[in-house]
Amino acid sequence: MLATRVIQGQGIHVEGINFFTGFCVEGHTHAIRRQDQKKQKRNNALWVAEQLGVKLHIIDVIEEYKDVVINPKHGYGSNLNPCLDCKGFMVKKAHEWAMEHGFDFIITGEVIGQRPMSQRRDTMPVIARESGAHDRLLRPLSAKLLPPTLPEREGWVDRETLFDFNGRGRRPQIALAEEFGLHDYAQPAGGCCFLTDAQYSAKLADLWQARGSRKYEFDDIMLLKVGRHLRPREDYKVIIAREDGENRFLEGYRKQFTHLFATSHPGPFALIDGVTGPEDLRVAARLVARFGKGRGSDSVTVEVHEPGGISQTMEVVPLSDQDIPQAWYI
């Protein structure tokens, strides 16, 4: 927001780009979980664009982004977050879009030293170089600490009005926001990408290990955001909804996955991802019974439906907490 306001202040037309990778923590996550239904389901990027009076282009990069996650040239952060490669990818895509649409340069709100991987003094030139944006990439908030870029040298932007923000502290940014009359803004950095989340990353690593290959489809990464994931055996895992919103979300996958739910007691909807035999289905049914209202009963009726149309009804004894090894929880 600040970088945009600074550049708009020089009379320059700015438009926004927002990339959807599939890992974004956004309104859709709130839409899944019932407990979050009261939260405002605004898309932050759209909201920001509206505050700034700029057009926003939301671009689906799900397919192209896979290579960033699977083969990050610069490695991962503390989880499966390929921050430096991610930033380079996004700047590259933004630069390509800008050139295709007749824009002269791109800006980001990066600040030197703000983030441990992608916003260090030594990595910022790497992003400019590897993205192909080179000196058409301007960071208005730290510009005075960086070599002059093309828009500054050409006089399109007055370098003297740009800033020299540096480091993890955000006091100068907050002061500038006040100056611009911006009082409501997204909480600074972090928490916007599931790949920075340790639990989510563990689920993704488990998925790759179980499949013997570092690949994923969009549905895979969506399902990692939902439910309890338990892997009783290497060949399959059970995804069990935690509440009604997740029940509804998982039900949307019933044509693609073996799915099960209790009929004798209220309880969760669950999917099986992987290959199962008869005994595995029984274990899965007992797990589903464990997380439903019948957990204290001697017997729970569970329906199991396979994608080919084969269905069966099982009478099972719910697993007890002691019966579920901690290692099953992903």
């Binding site: 859709h28 389901k41 898309n43 926003l56 969506m222």
Partner: protein
């Protein structure tokens, strides 16, 4: 002027907005797009996207979890 329909039921935001953005890009001013969705987030996001791009939401309705948003493409 023609009306087209975009069915994004079952898709979660921002996918409905992205699909809506793509389809509107192919329509001429005055044409309308009826968007069918289920994610409650679309009630905020599609009108917000339309406002910032200068298009007009002319109808919004919700019935038993199904949302219908009609957008008129503006120049």
């Amino acid at each position: 002027m023609s009306r087209q329909t975009l069915d994004v039921r079952g898709q979660l935001c921002p996918i409905p907005v992205i699909r809506c953005q793509g389809r509107i890009g192919t329509l001429a001013p005055g044409e309308t797009l009826e968007v069918l969705c289920t994610d409650p987030g679309t009630l905020h996001d599609i009108p917000a996207w339309c406002r910032i791009h200068g298009h007009k939401v002319i109808e919004t309705s919700e019935d038993d979890g199904e949302i219908r948003i009609v957008v008129e493409v503006c120049g």
